[in-house]
């Protein structure tokens, strides 16, 4: 979703919570996905081993990221893939547009790509008079309805069958309302096949890019990714620079982790490994393959030893399914390309805490995300870190927009609190104050909000300290 300055997280949460249908759709979907994941990772010991391997592989990548990217670039070139670098989403968008212009391309078929969502590529191309068409069924549905994805793996998960039936009937000429999923599927298949056949250019994301061989790996079930990368004469692949992996032999464990975490599958229908454009003598495949490697803040994230763990993410989406906040408010409420726990740690680092600093507040720090993350990113720790940086008490933050929440009143309050904890007289005075007036505090401002969903505590007339002094400490 387009990030805008007016993003009001509180309001979107309130709206999402009020929408019963939305909550029901999300509850059903995330319950199902959690169950499926559990079925495929049924042996806790093996799962733990696999996650440790995944963590090691991705951490290894981060320690030698520049070298691996150089190697990837060189190998891709050897294979005939043309490599482009983009620092910003604007640059990446313009590279895509230039390629389209160069090939006089109007119609683009798109496989699922979160990086293209990050770039708002569809809107950009439409504004230039181009026709970008999503082909993943979920993406196709929400593009028809002019919406961004609400989940990074199942983009239309916020819609139920009836709603999807209505979207088809309203937006595809000649289609009448049907709730029959196989009919809906047939409609989409029919429409999209025609587009694959006639598209000028195909675009895809990249799940893993292998440095040692210059191979682009695509994970998918539908076959639309293969269509987009094999039928049109030009294939453009988009990747964030953290998607590089060192060796082919690193792929099996990472692929297993991704499939199991994302959809609870042992393996997806297709694992597509692309090593270049059509070679002499070959009868199909694109004549040109381009790889656009996007930075968009990632190279800066690498600088901080703790926060760099964000770049280990393989975009499996399972932290979303396990997050008690995401499962209740859904993806759109986050107002960001990446929702849920991963969005909470990634978006503020990419766009700045001043813009997306409210996201890390949407966590109960229950640790569920960390427990399931296939590459063992300590998400709650990173959330805490970003919350700290929002206040940035010592002025040492590294994240753009750090200290945005710092306010004079709060600073004074915390300074005062510190005083009452280190100075015995102040401590006594404070306790006395609380005993006398604690229960008379007027319920206004933040206290009103806090108590609106919680019972306010009753302060005792005697402090624990005094009690202990008087009665001693009883052991049992």
């Amino acid at each position: 979703m387009a990030s805008n300055a007016k993003f009001n997280f509180k309001k979107s949460i309130t709206d999402a919570l009020a929408d019963k249908q939305l909550r029901a759709n999300f509850k059903f979907a995330t319950d199902t996905l959690r169950g499926k994941r559990l079925a495929v990772f049924s042996d806790p010991e093996e799962t733990m081993h696999l996650r440790k391997v995944g963590n090691g592989l991705k951490r290894n990548v981060l320690t030698k990221l520049p070298q691996l990217l150089e190697q990837l670039e060189a190998k891709c070139k050897e294979n005939g893939i043309i490599v482009h670098w983009a620092e910003t989403v604007d640059e990446a968008n313009n590279i895509v547009l230039d390629l389209m212009e160069k090939h006089s391309a109007h119609k683009m078929v798109k496989g699922k790509s979160m990086v293209s969502e990050e770039m708002h590529l569809n809107k950009f191309l439409e504004d230039q008079g181009k026709l970008p068409l999503e082909t993943d069924l979920g993406e196709y549905i929400i593009q028809l309805n002019n919406e961004p994805p609400s989940h990074i793996i199942v983009p239309a998960v916020h819609k139920n069958r009836k709603q999807i039936a209505q979207i088809f009937a309203d937006n595809i000429p000649g289609v009448s309302y049907t709730e029959d999923t196989s009919e809906l599927l047939a409609i989409a298949r029919h429409k999209l096949r025609e587009h694959y056949r006639t598209a000028d250019i195909g675009l895809s994301g990249v799940n893993f890019a292998i440095a040692e061989s210059g191979t682009l790996c695509l994970v998918e079930n539908e076959g639309n990714g293969r269509m987009c990368t094999a039928v049109p004469p030009v294939h453009v692949a988009l990747m964030g620079l953290e998607k590089v992996v060192e060796k082919l032999e690193d792929i099996p464990p990472l692929y297993r982790l991704l499939c199991g975490s994302a959809t609870g599958q042992r393996i997806t229908t297709y694992f597509n490994m692309i090593k270049g454009p059509r070679k002499a003598g070959e009868k199909d495949g694109p004549k040109e393959v381009h790889l656009i490697i996007l930075d968009n803040g990632r190279s800066k994230i690498l600088a901080d030893k703790q926060l760099r763990q964000t770049l280990q993410c393989i975009r499996c989406g399972t932290c979303l399914n396990h997050c008690p906040v995401y499962t209740r408010i859904g993806g759109h409420a986050y107002g960001s390309t990446y929702p849920g726990p991963i969005g909470e740690i990634l978006m503020p680092q990419v766009e700045g805490l001043d813009k997306k600093g409210s996201l890390p507040t949407a966590s109960s720090l229950c640790n569920a995300c960390e427990e399931v993350c296939p590459v063992m990113i300590p998400i709650p720790n990173l959330i805490r870190r970003l919350r700290d940086e929002s206040y940035d008490m010592d002025g040492e933050g590294v994240v753009k927009g750090h200290g945005f929440k710092k306010s004079l009143v709060e600073t004074i309050v915390w300074k005062g609190w510190k005083l009452t904890q280190v100075n015995a007289t102040c401590n006594k005075l404070m306790l006395l104050g609380v005993q006398l007036f604690g229960n008379m505090l007027p319920k206004v401002g933040p206290l009103k909000a806090w108590t609106s969903v919680r019972t306010s505590p009753k302060f005792a007339r005697q402090s624990l300290k005094d009690l202990a002094k008087k009665e001693g400490i009883r052991n049992e």
Binding site: L137, I251, N272, K283, D284
Partner: protein, 221 residues
């Protein structure tokens, strides 16, 4: 068109950001599924898991698959079969079709996709060889070639594939080694584990969304 300044800036930041020389010793070294030593067990596992994902698997001996193929084509009323010439299976196909009148025609893929596209999109079935199969994750390994282009396994609604029983390995990792994948992989290599599918509507599993609606595999012993 590559923006060189973008590249330089990115690498400058990456080099400044990465902790020089800090190599990382992983906690767990490797993940490799325990090999299934017995061939029959490997084949059985492959068949079981492939079938679970709605792949139709037929275990056959020697050249029996050709007859079985013709039978299935008749049963389903498939109107043609696209194949690649000069492959291991093509001679058998051509021989079996010779002189047969009451069977849907064989269509060889001879031209570049630009000329063949419309015919391919109209075809009702395609057949390919495979490099083998992976038992533990239930997938076939496909290495498309000039003879057998990649779209042969994707565009026609029915995909027939031939897998040799003695080329069924336990895991992806094993297949990588056995096939000398790094040195020999083609322009486009694939793992395929079933017919095209989606669960994008209410997470209901539906088959045949963009690629083949049916995958029919002959495991040949």
């Amino acid at each position: 068109m590559s923006n060189t300044s973008a590249r330089e800036n990115i690498f400058a930041r990456l080099h400044a950001s990465s902790i020089a020389g800090a190599s990382y010793a992983p906690v767990a070294e490797k993940w490799v599924p325990a090999p299934i030593e017995d061939k029959a067990a490997r084949v059985a596992r492959f068949v079981e898991l492939m079938s679970a994902m709605r792949t139709e698997v037929h275990q056959v001996k020697g050249d029996e698959w050709v007859g079985k193929l013709q039978e299935i084509m008749k049963e389903r009323g498939l109107k043609n079969l696209v194949y690649g010439q000069n492959t291991e299976i093509s001679k058998k196909l051509e021989a079996a079709w010779k002189g047969q009148k009451d069977i849907a025609p064989l269509v060889p893929w001879t031209a570049d996709i630009e000329e063949f596209r419309d015919e391919l999109f109209e075809a009702s079935a395609g057949i390919t060889t495979t490099m083998g199969g992976i038992a533990e994750s239930a997938a076939m390994v496909l290495w498309p070639s000039p003879e057998e282009p990649r779209l042969l396994s994707l565009v026609p609604p029915v995909h027939f594939a031939v897998v040799k029983a003695d080329k069924i390995w336990t895991s992806f990792a094993e297949a990588i080694e056995a096939l000398d994948w790094n040195a020999k992989a083609p322009t486009n290599a694939l793992l395929i584990s079933g017919p095209s599918k989606t669960a994008d509507i209410e997470l209901i599993l539906q088959f045949g969304v963009h690629g083949p609606t049916d995958l029919i595999v002959f495991v040949v012993d």
